[in-house]
C-alpha cells in the first residue's frame, strides 16, 4: 500500500488551519489567465499555422526565449492551463488543514510554468530546460510528504528515471543541432529529410525515444509512475495523468515530421507502445488502491498514444489528438474524485470503500461521467477516442499479420480498461455501504473542479463545437506534418471498427463480472514486480560495480604507486608506438674512462639494489647515499664538475638528515616498520620487483633511444659557451646559466627551496610522535669528534666563501656553499646535541637567513634594473669603482646573487635540520619566531 500523504498532512495540521482556499483561487489566476489568453490567440493560430516570438536571453550561447505556438502547442497549452486552474482551486480545499501548503502551491506553480514553457518553447534547449523543470517539480511533489520513507524513495526513483531521460534528451538535442545546424524548432521542422538521412539518425532516435519513454512512463520505465502516487492528489491529477506524463508524447509528436516515417521509428514506438498499453491495462485491474489503479490505466493510455505516433498515418494522428483531449479530461476528473473520496473517508483502498453514492452524490456523478468516458462508452468523448483508435487498427499499409496483432491488443486493452473503470466507479459508489464509512460531498470548489472536466467529457461529445474540431485538426496536422481532417461525429456508421468495439465492450463486461476471480488469477502471476525487481537489481548491480571500482582504493601507498607506474607503461605500450630503438653505432672507445664509467655505473646499480635487500634501515640509507655519490662520479667523468659537486653535497646532506631523523624515531616504530616491510607476503615483493624492473627497463630504453637519435649534438652548450664570458662575464658556464641566463628561474628555485624548509618545519615541529626528549640529545662524547667539529665549521665556511666568490669562474657556487655550511651545522648537531649547538651557533637562524636570501636576490635584480635598465644584466661594481680585486672575483650583481643563493639555501637547509634534529618540539618552534 502506498503511503497516504494526507494522513501526514492531517497530523501536522495546526488548529487554526491555513487559508488555503484563498490561496487556491489566487494561484488559479495565472493558469486561468493563460487559458483565456490562449483561447483568444487560438483563432490566429488556426489562421496563421504558427505564432513565433523571440526575446533574446543568452545570445552568447544562442539561447533565446523563443516561443512557437502552433496547433499542437496550443492544444497542450490549453490543457495545461485549463486543468491547471481547476487543480489550483481544488488544491485550495484539499490542503485546508496543512500549514505547509504554500509549498504545494509553489511546486504546482513551478510545474505550471515549466510545462507551459515546455509546450510553447521554440528552441530545443529552452524546451530542454523546461523539460527538466517539470521533472524537478514532479520530484518535489512526489516527495512532498518528505518524512514518509516511501514518498522519498518514490521521489528519488522518479527523478532518477525522468532525470536520466532528460539527460538523454540533452544528448539528442545536441545531436540534432549538430545534424541540422540549428536549435530553432522552426528551422528544424523545415529541414525536411536532413535528420532522417543523417548518420546520427539512429542515435538521435534512440536518445529522443528514451527521453520520451521515461517521461511518459513507457514500459519498462513506467515504474516511477505508480510509486509516484505518494504525491498529493492534486499533483497526481495534474502532473501524473493529465499533463506532465504527456510531455513525452508531445516530444514525439513534435519531432515526428522530421524523425518519423521510417521503419525504425515505427518499430521502436509501436512495439514499446503496444507493450505498455497491454501491460498497464493488465496490471491496473489488479490494483486495490484507487490512485494506483488510475496510474496503471494512465500508463496504458500513454502506451496507446506512443503506438499511434509510431504508426505515422493521418488517422493515427487524428486518434492521438482526440485521445489526448479525452484522456486529460476524464483522468483528471477521476483523480480528483479519488482525491475527494480519500479526503472525506480517509482511505482510498477499494476493499474498504463502497456504497458512497448516496452520501456523496455530486462526487458520484463526476465519477460516473469520468468512468463512462474512460470505459469508452457512448455518449462520452472517450467513446469517440476509442472508436478512432480502433479504426486505426485496420492500417492499410501494414502486413495483415501485424494488423491482426494490433487489433487484438487494442481490443484486449480496451476490455481491460473498461473493466477497470467499472471496478473503480462501482467499487467506490455502488453496492452496500461499508461499515464505519462516514462521508459527504466536499466543499463546493473541490466538487466543481472535479465536475468540470467530467462534464466536458460529455459536452464535447454531444455538442460538437467547431472550434474544438479545428483545433484538434491543426494539432494533428502539426504533428503529422501535413493536414489531417478531424470530425467529431459520434456515429461513424457500421463497420469493422464498430464490430471490434462491441467485442471489446462485451469482453470488458465479462471481465468486470468476474473481476475478483480475475484478480485472484493475477495474483498467481506477479508480472508487475518483475520490473521493480529489475530496477532494484540494477541499482544493486551498479552499487556492486561501484564497490569494485573503489576496492583498489584501500589506502595503501604501494598499490597507488604501482598503479601509477603500470599506467605509464600501458600508456607507452598502447599509445607510444615504440619504434625499435635505433641503436647507436658503438663508437665509444674502450679506454680507462669507459672502464671507470662502467665501474661507477655498476656501483650505482648494486647500491640501489642493496637499498631493497638490506634489512636495517640505516644500512639502506647509506646504500642510497652510495648510489647518489656514484651518480655524481658519472657526472664528474663527463666532465661536469659543477653538477657533480652539487650532487655530492646534496647527497651527503640528504643522508645525514635522514640518519638524523631516523635516530630520533622511537625504536618500537622502527621495529614495526621493519616487520611490516619484511614479513609481508613474498608475492607482493616479487610483483613490486617485476614492476620496478619494467619501469626501469622502459626508462632505460627511452634514454638509450634519446642518446642514439639525438638530432643535434648540443646546440645549447655551444650557445652558452660562446656567450657566457661575453654577456655575463663568467667563465663557468653553469654559473652563468644559473645566475644570468636563467636568473628568474633561480629566484623561484631558491624560493621553492626555502619553502621546502618552512614546510618541513611546519610539519615536523608539532609532529604527532611523542619523542623521548632529552635522552637522545646528548650527542657524542668523543673528544676527537668534538675538536674536529670545532675545526670543520670554519673550514667549511672558508670553502663556502670561495665557492660564492668564484662561483662565476670556477666550479662550485652559492648553492654548494650553502649546503656545505649546512653540513657542518649538522655535524655540530650530531656531536654536541641540538641544545648546545643552538646555544653556540646563534647565527644559525633559519627563517631570517632564508628571508634575507630571498630579499637580497630581489634587491640585486632591481639594482641591475636601475643601473642598466635591464633585469639580470650584471653590474660590476668592482670595476666601476676601480677596486683592486683578485683575478676571477668580481664584485658584481652576480656575486650578490650567489650570496643570496647561499643565504637562502643555508636557511632552508637549517630549517630542516632544526626540525629533524631537535628532540623537543614546542621549544624549538617557540624560539623560531612562532606566535600563539
Amino acid at each position: 500500500m502506498v503511503g497516504n500523504p494526507r494522513t501526514a498532512l492531517r497530523s501536522s495540521g495546526s488548529p487554526q488551519g491555513f487559508p488555503s482556499a484563498v490561496f487556491g483561487f489566487a494561484f488559479a489566476l495565472p493558469p486561468a489567465a493563460a487559458f483565456l489568453a490562449l483561447l483568444a490567440l487560438a483563432p490566429r493560430v488556426l489562421d496563421e499555422g504558427a505564432l513565433v516570438r523571440s526575446i533574446p536571453w543568452i545570445p552568447s550561447l544562442g539561447l533565446a526565449f523563443s516561443i512557437r505556438l502552433d496547433g499542437l502547442s496550443a492544444l497542450f497549452a490549453l490543457l495545461v492551463s485549463g486543468i491547471g486552474a481547476l487543480i489550483m482551486i481544488y488544491a485550495g480545499s484539499y490542503a485546508k488543514r496543512d500549514p505547509g501548503a504554500w509549498r504545494l502551491f509553489l511546486y504546482l506553480q513551478i510545474f505550471f510554468v515549466s510545462m507551459i514553457g515546455l509546450v510553447v518553447a521554440g528552441n530545443l534547449f529552452l524546451l530542454f530546460i523546461f523539460w527538466e523543470g517539470t521533472s524537478v517539480a514532479s520530484y518535489l511533489l512526489i516527495g512532498y510528504a518528505a518524512k514518509n520513507e516511501k514518498a522519498r524513495s518514490a521521489a528519488f526513483k522518479s527523478l532518477l528515471v525522468t532525470g536520466g531521460g532528460g539527460i538523454a534528451l540533452l544528448a539528442a538535442f545536441l545531436l540534432i543541432e549538430s545534424a541540422t545546424g540549428s536549435a530553432d524548432l522552426a528551422e528544424i521542422l523545415a529541414s525536411g529529410n536532413r535528420l532522417r538521412e543523417s548518420s546520427l539518425y539512429i542515435p538521435i532516435l534512440i536518445l529522443a525515444a528514451l527521453a520520451a519513454f521515461t517521461k511518459s512512463a513507457q514500459f519498462p520505465f513506467h515504474i516511477w509512475l505508480p510509486d509516484g502516487m505518494t504525491a498529493p492528489t492534486p499533483a497526481s491529477a495534474y502532473l501524473h495523468s493529465a499533463t506532465m506524463v504527456k510531455a513525452g508524447i508531445y516530444l514525439l509528436a513534435r519531432l515526428n515530421p522530421v524523425l518519423g516515417l521510417t521503419e525504425s521509428w515505427f518499430w521502436v514506438l509501436t512495439a514499446t507502445g503496444t507493450l505498455t498499453m497491454l501491460f498497464g491495462a493488465y496490471l491496473g485491474l489488479s490494483q486495490r488502491d484507487l490512485k494506483r489503479l488510475l496510474a496503471y490505466s494512465t500508463i496504458s493510455q500513454l502506451g496507446v498514444l506512443t503506438m499511434l505516433i509510431g504508426q505515422d498515418t493521418a488517422i493515427a494522428f487524428k486518434a492521438v489528438v482526440i485521445a489526448v483531449l479525452a484522456h486529460s479530461l476524464y483522468k483528471s476528473a477521476l483523480f480528483m474524485t479519488a482525491g475527494i473520496v480519500d479526503h472525506e473517508t480517509g482511505t482510498r483502498d477499494l476493499d474498504r470503500l463502497g456504497g458512497l453514492r448516496r452520501a456523496m452524490p455530486g462526487t458520484a456523478a463526476a465519477a460516473v461521467l469520468g468512468g463512462l468516458s474512460m470505459a469508452g462508452l457512448p455518449p462520452m468523448f472517450g467513446f469517440l477516442a476509442k472508436e478512432t483508435l480502433i479504426s486505426t487498427a485496420t492500417h492499410p499499409t501494414l502486413p495483415p499479420f501485424i494488423n491482426l496483432i494490433l487489433a487484438g491488443t487494442i481490443v484486449a486493452a480496451g476490455a481491460l480498461i473498461l473493466a477497470q473503470a467499472g471496478v473503480l466507479v462501482l467499487g467506490t459508489f455502488a453496492g452496500p455501504r461499508r461499515e464505519g464509512l462516514e462521508a459527504r460531498d466536499p466543499p463546493a470548489p473541490m466538487l466543481v473542479a472535479a465536475l468540470v472536466p467530467a462534464a466536458a467529457s460529455l459536452l464535447f461529445a454531444l455538442v460538437p463545437l467547431p472550434g474544438i474540431a479545428s483545433l484538434l485538426a491543426a494539432a494533428a496536422g502539426a504533428a503529422f506534418g501535413s493536414p489531417v481532417k478531424v470530425s467529431l461525429a459520434l456515429w461513424s456508421g457500421v463497420g469493422i471498427p464498430l464490430a471490434l468495439s462491441v467485442v471489446a465492450v462485451s469482453l470488458g463486461l465479462v471481465l468486470l463480472r468476474f473481476e475478483s476471480r480475475v484478480r485472484n488469477a493475477q495474483k498467481q502471476l506477479e508480472v508487475g514486480r518483475i520490473i521493480d525487481r529489475l530496477y532494484d537489481g540494477l541499482l544493486a548491480g551498479v552499487d556492486a560495480l561501484s564497490r569494485r571500482a573503489v576496492r583498489l582504493q584501500h589506502g595503501r601507498l604501494r598499490l597507488y604507486l604501482s598503479v601509477m607506474f603500470l599506467a605509464v607503461v600501458i600508456l607507452f605500450v598502447l599509445f607510444g608506438r615504440p619504434v625499435p630503438p635505433r641503436l647507436a653505432p658503438a663508437s665509444v672507445p674502450l679506454d680507462l674512462w669507459a672502464a671507470l664509467r662502467v665501474f661507477a655505473l655498476a656501483i650505482v646499480v648494486a647500491s640501489s639494489a642493496a637499498t631493497i635487500v638490506l634489512r636495517r634501515d640505516l644500512h639502506a640509507i647509506l646504500a642510497l647515499g652510495a648510489s647518489g655519490l656514484n651518480v655524481a662520479v658519472l657526472f664528474l667523468l663527463e666532465p661536469a664538475p659543477d653538477v657533480a659537486l652539487a650532487m655530492i653535497v646534496v647527497d651527503i646532506l640528504t643522508v645525514v638528515i635522514l640518519v638524523l631523523a631516523l635516530t630520533k624515531l622511537p625504536a618500537a616504530i622502527r621495529a614495526r616498520a621493519d616487520a611490516l616491510d619484511f614479513r609481508e607476503s613474498k608475492r607482493q615483493k616479487i610483483l613490486d620487483a617485476i614492476l620496478a624492473s619494467g619501469v626501469g627497463a622502459a626508462a632505460a630504453l627511452v634514454a638509450w633511444t634519446a642518446l642514439a637519435t639525438r638530432p643535434r649534438p648540443s646546440e645549447v652548450s655551444q650557445f652558452y659557451a660562446e656567450r657566457s664570458k661575453a654577456l655575463a662575464g663568467a667563465r663557468d658556464i653553469v654559473g652563468a646559466i644559473v645566475i644570468d641566463f636563467r636568473g628568474f628561474d633561480t629566484l623561484i628555485e631558491i624560493a621553492v627551496f626555502s619553502l621546502a624548509g618552512i614546510g618541513a618545519f611546519s610539519l615536523l615541529c608539532r609532529g604527532a610522535l611523542k619523542r623521548d626528549a632529552r635522552a637522545a640529545d646528548r650527542g657524542s662524547r668523543s673528544p676527537l669528534l668534538r675538536s674536529f667539529a670545532f675545526v670543520i665549521l670554519p673550514l667549511c665556511m672558508v670553502l663556502a666563501a670561495v665557492f660564492v666568490m668564484y662561483g662565476h669562474d670556477r666550479p662550485g657556487d652559492g648553492f654548494v656553499g650553502g649546503v656545505i655550511v649546512a653540513l657542518a651545522v649538522v655535524f655540530w648537531y650530531a656531536v654536541f646535541g641540538a641544545e648546545r649547538s643552538r646555544r653556540t651557533l646563534r647565527w644559525v637562524r633559519p627563517l631570517p637567513l632564508a628571508v634575507s636570501g630571498l630579499a637580497l636576490a630581489l634587491v640585486q635584480a632591481s639594482i641591475s634594473y636601475f643601473v642598466n635598465g635591464s633585469f639580470y644584466t650584471p653590474v660590476d661594481f668592482g670595476r666601476r669603482l676601480g677596486l683592486p680585486l683578485p683575478d676571477g672575483f668580481a664584485l658584481s650583481t652576480s656575486f650578490l646573487m650567489e650570496v643570496a643563493i647561499f643565504l637562502a639555501v643555508l636557511g632552508g637547509a637549517s630549517l630542516v635540520i632544526d626540525s629533524t634534529g631537535h628532540p623537543d618540539d614546542s621549544e624549538s618552534c617557540e624560539s623560531s619566531g612562532e606566535g600563539r
Binding site: 552568447s60 518524512k147 545531436l175 601509477m564 599506467a567 639525438r710 621553492v752 619553502l755 608539532r766 612562532e930
Partner: protein, 492 residues
Amino acid sequence: MSPPLFGPDILRALLPFIVVAVGATLTTLLGAWRTRLGLAAAVAVLAVAVLALRGAPESVRAWEGALVLDRFSLVFMALLLGAAFFTLFLSEPVLRREGRVRAEYYGLLLFSLSGMFLLVSTTNLLMIFLALELLSIPLYVLCGYAREDDRSIEAAMKYFVLGSFSSAIFLFGAALLFGATGTIDLAAMHGGDRLLGAAGVLLLLVGFFFKAAAVPFHMWAPDVYDGAPTPIASFMATAVKIATFGLLLRVLSFAFAAEAHPAAAFLDREAAEPALRWIAILTMSVGNLSALTQNNVKRMLAYSSIAHAGYLFLGLIPGSGAVDGAGVTYYLVAYLFMTSGAFAVIAALSAREGGREVLTVDRFAGVGYRRPFLGLAMTIFLVSLAGIPPTAGFFGKYLLFRGAIDRGLTGLVVIAVLNSALSLYYYLRVVVFFYMKETDRPAAIDDALGFRLAMIAALAGVLWIGFMPDLFGLPGIPSLLGWVQASVSSLP
C-alpha cells in the same frame, strides 16, 4: 639572443605574482608577530593582487617563455584568485573552531597560489616544473595541517610521496622533450625527433594528469581530500584543478597546433589522441562509479571532482577541430562556483568528534529543515553539479558537449551523458538525506560568517551563470562566453 630586457611592461606583468609571493612572506611574518593579522594580511594581499591583475598588460613574453602574460593567463589568474578567496572564507572559521590558527597557514596558502599564477603564465618547461613544486610543497604541508587526525598526516604523506614521483616523471619527460627539440620553450618547439617527442609529451602529460587527478593517476585524490582539512580539500578541488587544466590547455594547444604542420610536429597525434580519449572515458566513469557508494560526503565530492575532470578532458581532445579552450574555461568557471559552494556547506557541517570529522551522509538527515538556507544552497549546488538547468553546471556541460559533438566526438559525448545520468544518483541522494526526518545524533551546524559568505557568493555565481551569464561587469566584454573566448584567443 641577448638577455631579455626588463622593462616596465615585464614588471607589470610580474606584479600579480610578486604581490602574492611577497605577500605570502609578509603574511607569514605578520602572522608570526600577531596571529590575528594573518587572515587580514592574506585578504589584503589578495585584494592587492586583484588590482595588480587589473593593471597587468595583455601580451608580454619574456625569458624564453618563462613569463607569458596574455589574456589566457589573466583569466586563469582571476579564477584562481576567486578560488583563493573561497578558501580564505572557509579557512578562518575552521581554523578557529579547531584551535589551529597559526602563522604559516595563510602564508603557505598564498605561496601555493603564487605557484599557480606562475603555472598559468609560462610556456617554459623549467618554469612549469618550478611552478608545480611551488604550488605543491605548501599543499603537502597544508594537507597535514590537522595533526591529531592521523588521516590528515596520512594524506600529507601520500600526496607528498606520489607527488614526488609524478614530478620525477614530469622531469624525465621534460628532459626527453628538450633532447628531441633542443628547446625548453613549448612555444618554440618544432621539429625534432618524433619518437622522443612523443615519449616526452606523454611523460609530461602524466605529470599533469596526476595533478588533475585523472584516472589512473587519481588514486591519491580521495584519500587526500578526505584527510585534508576541508578548506584545503576545497582549494585542491578548485584551484589546483583550474591551474592544471589551464596548463593542460596551453600545452596541448601548442602540441596540437604544432602537429598541424607535419614538418614541425613534436607530438604524435595518432598516439596522443587515443590516449586522451581513454583517459577521459576512464576518468569520468571511474569517478562517477566510485562516487555512487560513498557514504562520506567529502569523499563523494572527491570522486565527483574526478568525474568532472573527466568531462573537462572532452574539451582537450581536438577531434576534427582544435582543443576547445573556451568550453573548458567556461566549465571551470561554473565548476569553481558549484564546487566551492558544496565544500562550504560541508565545512559548515564538519565539526570534529574525537579528532575526526564525521561526514557520513546519514548524519545530515534533517539539516534542510534546521537550516533552510543551507539546505536550499546545497540542493542548488548539487543540482548544478549534476548538470540540471538552469544552473551553472548545465551551461558548462552544454558548451563542452556541444563542442565535442561538433568536433565529431559523438561516442565520447554519449558516454559522458550516461555518466551524467549516473551522477544524478549520488548527488540527489545527499539532497534526499538533507530533507529526511532528523536522526537522534544530528550533525552539528556551524553558522560562522565565513561559511555564509562563501555560500552566498557561490550561490550567486551558480545562479548568475545559470540565468544571465550575458550580464558581465567588464566594459567592452558583452558576456561570460565572450570573456572566455577572448582569453583563449591568445592560445595558438
